[in-house]
Symmetry: C2
Subunit: 111 residues, 2 copies
């Protein structure tokens, strides 16, 4: 399975910051303008825009501009890459647990 | 719900690098020594140790030293924090979808 390694690098970097995670969270309830998204945070708009750009370049969000308003939308498919990666790790652990169970329940006969 | 925000910062930083993700993957099949883990990578041991330390300080892995051998073990509970965070985002989308469905299936009577 290909994990879109570069995409995952960018996605994990984007998620490694509480402001950006909070933006993702807010966008989970529907699209919002940059102004609305910035409101809960005590930072300048240029600082906030850096976070928006990091999220956008990771593909986790898309933005569109109409007049002066830039609207952000969550890209769930991109976040699903993280789900996919985690699911794959879990399948490795589970196959390991199965092997251990087989060893315990079907021990080799002493030779 | 508390997301262990600082823990998530460190975990996502740790996961934002293909070598470190490959180490996590390998440790999913069972504990391994630093030497074994380093083998597939064409980098010096000190460079590899930096990755091991980043993983260790994020809590994703634990290491123990016996004599000259440092053994690494995956800490699944720590990776489960990412699962928890993702599940929470999903529940937000789903509640939004439910609200949208209610709007579509039970439209307000025209007043």
């Amino acid at each position: 399975m290909v994990y879109h390694e570069e995409a995952l690098d960018d996605i994990f970097v984007a998620l490694a910051e509480p402001t950006r995670r909070q933006v993702i969270r807010r966008l989970g309830t529907g699209p919002a303008s940059v102004g609305e998204l910035a409101q809960p945070f005590s930072m300048t708009l240029p600082s906030f825009m850096k976070h928006v750009r990091t999220l956008e370049s990771s593909g986790l969000i898309q933005t569109t501009k109409h007049g002066r308003v830039r609207t952000c939308t969550l890209n769930r498919e991109r976040l699903a890459l993280v789900d996919g990666w985690l699911a794959d790790q879990r399948s490795l652990w589970e196959s390991r647990t199965d092997r251990l169970e087989t060893l315990v329940t079907q021990p080799k006969e002493p030779s």
